[in-house]
């Protein structure tokens, strides 16, 4: 998973770099278009198009029957039954293409999330660095872990850490001084661990969390390599502000996805006939 993420990160960083200085909606629209086309083609190649056409005809016939015999309750009920039956058949026919698409779709969305779901730090902005430790550390009355944080020039450690034993968590407050890509260094008894920090207003990959290895951790947070297994650190968080897809006041980590889904659907429906795809 880590190897795959590494490839995907490079691929998406390169593919989205032409849009990094543009309004976020431009990149989202282009990705939606490309993905809409790609998914249409996958759908076309992996689904039984003739059967789908036939099933849709059956559904239309059922609807027609309802309109035609609207004074005959028995006929209407029979038509509804037919429609439901063919609807289920239609759904069944979409399972295979959906299975083909679901994995790449999740991987792609996960990559996009870390390009568009968060805003970068601006110089002067503050953020929290939260380090979550495993069971071996802390607990109520637990000993304060000997972990220190070092910041490169361009970042400033303003306060901390605060140690919250009940949550096994150390938190620092940092602030951005200059634009740039940085690595914070956490020093533990087992060695050094880094955490990326991007001080930039452009659309670039940002990692709000670096997690320990694990399939779901890597599936959902692919923006950075997993933490080494030898460390007691389970997660390092960085509080990037939520993204807004370029629309002030619409701050949410999922704002971009609304635009992405709507645009993908629009593109897919607009292009289904030119691409001769039955949906």
């Amino acid at each position: 998973m880590s190897f795959l993420n590494n490839i995907l990160r490079r691929l998406f960083d390169a593919a989205l770099s032409p849009f990094s200085g543009l309004h976020p909606l431009v990149g989202i629209a282009v990705v939606s278009l490309v993905l809409g086309v790609a998914m249409l083609l996958v759908f076309k190649w992996t689904s039984k198009q003739e059967k789908m056409t036939a099933v849709k005809r059956q559904i239309h016939a059922g609807l027609f029957e309802i309109r035609l015999f609207n004074d005959n309750l028995r006929a209407i009920l029979r038509a509804i039954g037919t429609i439901l039956h063919h609807n289920l058949r239609y759904l069944g026919l979409t399972v295979v293409p959906l299975l083909w698409m679901i994995v790449p779709f999740v991987l792609i969305v996960a990559q996009l999330q870390f390009h568009y779901g968060y805003q970068g730090l601006e110089p002067g902005a503050q953020a929290l660095v939260e380090v979550e430790l495993d069971q071996s550390a802390g607990g109520l009355g637990g000993v304060r872990p000997a972990i220190t944080l070092e910041a490169p020039p361009g970042l400033l450690i303003e306060a901390g850490p605060i140690w919250v034993p009940s949550a096994r968590e150390l938190t620092w407050r940092i602030s951005a001084v200059e634009q740039g890509d940085y690595e914070l260094v956490l020093k533990t008894s087992d060695g050094e661990i880094t955490k990326s920090v991007r001080v930039s207003g452009q659309v670039v990959r940002r990692s709000p969390k670096r997690l320990a290895a694990g399939f779901f951790n890597q599936l959902l947070y692919p923006a950075e390599d997993p933490l080494p297994a030898s460390t007691p650190i389970r997660a390092i968080g960085l509080s990037y502000p939520a993204g807004n897809a370029g629309f002030e006041g619409w701050e949410s980590e999922l704002t971009w996805m609304i635009f992405f889904l709507v645009l993908s659907i629009i593109f897919a429906f607009a292009l289904r006939k030119p691409l001769k795809v039955t949906l």
Binding site: Q126, L128, E130, L140, R144, A159, G160, P161, I162, W163, V164, P165, S166, A167, T171, W172, R173, S239, E248, G249
Partner: protein, 652 residues
């Protein structure tokens, strides 16, 4: 501003220019900087000392003069005089506090909230079918309404006594008088583990809550307004947690999804908070936290919860999204009208150093915003435009720190106050820096006016008007032995009371037919006013041996404008310089002491005889029309744009 709005405005203006319109008028731009509380004598002194070079430059090139203030010289009154060109008799603002004649309940004078109309009741809930409202109580036409009518694009930022904004200017942000989310001028919260902290005292302008650390965590609630969807009055709250480090003086705040790390002695940035009324209705607010101590006792100050300018729950700007534009450009800001938390210092919840730090934060926000507003103003394509920008920092800090200029003040301590010796001077230097910045940014054809609403002086002594009225036989109390009068006239025996004081300078006759329990016949009113006025002028402060009252102004003589005079006091008391009304008397209490030393942190004031505390008027060129008084200034400003005949009085 949108990138296309400049060219578009120009394109739209071209036809107008071609066919006359305002194209015949010369291009005119004017900037007015309103600096609340800037005192004429002090300004002159600092100018002579050479520490206000930009002010001196203006004085050389234009005018520098005292600007006669309002009677009484209180900010809402004074700014209303400026806005309308009329005195209180015309605009209806006589004090910070008025009293409702039907109920005798004091209320804030500049705006009034109206509850929602019909509601549908369902169990413990109620659902309003129509919204409530908030009404600006200032009457008369604002001078920028005339400017806009005459084609002058106006930007009015933080004008006092302008909440809700008139909506007449191109851009407006409301100022003094804008409430916090609970509807007050600012209610802070203080969370403490100190047992019985402030017990027995009611705090003005703040609430104290006990907060205990348990397993390293303090859990508490932020308190919002009453929930309008509940039939029974109940404040809406939102929870927050403070995680305290077991060893270090540092804590982590958790409010909803927001987290902040604060060391002891640090202020947070603005933290958004949300108060949920019902699942589909909530109110967005924002506040700052100050971690005062984590051990041995936990102490956390939370600023009054302000409206979130990105989604304000009340109309604080015009257009409605202008507040959001300002916040997006320069950051979230105090939306409450008077952001400096003077009450927290008065109640000693904040120390002087802490208050100064808080006031600095507020001042910097307003200064940052000025740069943006001025830049927008300068880049506007409109040939005729007007900007008013208000600075309240000097006034509020002068109230709390004026003692440093007065070694004879009862609370002056040379050792303690030496730390703050230059505070007032620094405020004037800051104002000078703003003027210098403005002069650098503006072109030579722009008229610059720097003005203040009133001056300042030391407040050494307090005089309780209600206690004097009682001693003089004009006011009777029900219980002469009441140990602590809570105010609101609870101890006043109306059946034997002929006059009473409420507000900072107001004295009212208990008039039959006007007051609910009035006993004075209307025909006796004027004679009684004169009798009381004459006696007040004879009152001598036993400690200082000087009169407590400099002048008195019966309503009929004090106010030349008419229409709203019935709201106001029958007599305006012009306290002698150095003396002010007692804080208790202002809200209808009858304290035991008639005179007392002012031992509060509030050591500077201006609520005296208006002739003793003039403001200033500085311009970069002589004005076409003289403005000896604040209420003449709006007319003079309009005259600069070639507009005559302001204000239009009712009698006109």
């Amino acid at each position: 501003m949108k990138p296309w709005s400049g060219p578009l405005a120009l394109a739209l203006a071209l036809p107008l220019l071609a066919c006359g319109g305002h194209g015949d008028a010369p291009a005119q731009t004017m900037i007015v900087l309103g600096i609340d509380g800037m005192d004429h004598a002090l300004t002159q002194q600092y100018m002579e000392q050479g520490i206000l070079p930009n002010f001196s430059r203006l004085a050389r090139e234009g005018t520098f003069q005292p600007l006669g203030t309002s009677s009484p010289p209180l900010s809402p009154v004074a700014w209303s005089n400026f806005i309308t060109g009329m005195d209180s008799g015309g605009h209806g603002i006589f004090d910070f506090i008025h009293r409702e004649p039907d109920t005798m309940i004091p209320y804030l004078s500049t705006s009034k909230t109206e509850d929602a109309g019909t509601t549908v009741k369902l169990g413990k809930y109620q659902f309003p079918l129509s919204g409530g409202g908030i009404e600006l109580m200032r009457r008369g036409e604002a001078f920028w309404e005339v400017l806009e009518r005459e084609g002058v694009e106006s930007t009015i930022i933080r004008m006092p006594a302008n909440f809700p904004p008139t909506g007449a200017a191109t851009r407006e942000l409301s100022g003094m008088g804008t409430p916090d989310v609970v509807g007050t001028y600012g209610t802070f919260s203080f969370y403490t583990s100190v047992l019985f902290a402030f017990s027995g005292q009611s705090l003005n302008g703040g609430d104290v809550y006990e907060a205990w650390e348990e397993d390293g965590v303090v859990e508490a609630k932020l308190h919002g307004p009453d929930n309008p969807f509940l039939r029974e009055s109940e404040k809406v709250t939102t929870e927050f947690k403070v995680y305290i480090d077991p060893e270090e003086p540092i804590a982590k705040l958790e409010v909803g999804e927001e987290e902040r790390v604060l060391e002891v002695g640090e202020w947070s940035d603005w933290v958004p908070v949300e108060f949920e009324f019902i699942p589909t209705q909530s109110l967005a607010g924002t506040c700052r936290f100050y971690l005062r101590s984590v051990r041995p006792e936990f102490e956390l100050y939370v600023s009054p919860i302000n409206f979130d300018p990105m989604a304000p729950g009340m109309p604080i700007s015009h257009p409605e999204d202008y507040a959001a534009e300002l916040a997006a450009a320069t950051g979230t800001f105090y939306t409450q009208g008077m952001p400096e938390d003077t009450q927290a210092l008065r109640e000693r919840v904040l120390s002087r150093e802490e208050f100064m730090a808080q006031a600095k934060i507020a001042g910097e926000e307003i200064r940052r915003q000025y740069d943006y507003v001025l830049e927008q103003f300068q880049s506007s394509s409109s040939p005729r435009r007007f900007l008013f920008y208000y600075f309240g920092n000097l006034d509020q800090i002068s109230h709390m720190m004026f003692r440093v200029l007065d070694p004879e003040h009862p609370t002056y301590d040379p050792e303690v106050d030496s730390k703050f010796a230059s505070v007032i001077e620094d405020l004037y230097r800051n104002a000078d820096e703003v003027v210098g910045y403005t002069l650098d940014q503006m072109d030579e054809s722009t008229t610059l006016i720097v003005m203040s609403d009133h001056g300042f002086t030391s407040l050494r002594r307090q005089f309780s008007i209600n206690t004097w009225l009682k001693e003089a036989g004009y006011l009777a109390v029900r219980n002469p032995n009441m140990s602590s009068d809570p105010g609101l006239f609870v101890n006043v025996d109306w059946s034997r009371t002929r006059a009473y004081g409420v507000g900072l300078n107001g004295l009212y006759i208990n008039l039959k037919g006007r007051e609910p329990n009035g006993i004075v016949e209307p025909r006796d009113r004027l004679a009684l006013i004169r009798e009381i006025g004459d006696k007040l002028l004879e009152v001598i402060d036993p400690k200082t041996g000087v009169p407590a009252v400099g002048k008195v102004y019966p309503r009929e003589e004090s106010f030349q404008d008419r229409g709203e005079e019935e709201i106001g006091p029958d007599l305006v008391i012009g306290f002698a310089k150095g003396t002010g009304g007692s804080g208790q008397s202002i809200l209808g209490a009858v304290p035991k002491e008639m005179f007392s030393d002012n031992t509060e942190e509030w050591t500077g004031d201006h609520g005296m005889d208006h002739e003793t505390v003039p403001g200033i008027l500085l311009t970069n060129r002589p004005l076409k029309q003289a403005a000896p008084r604040l209420q003449d200034l709006a007319g003079a400003i309009l005259a600069e744009f070639g507009i005559e005949g302001f204000p239009v009085r009712k009698s006109d």
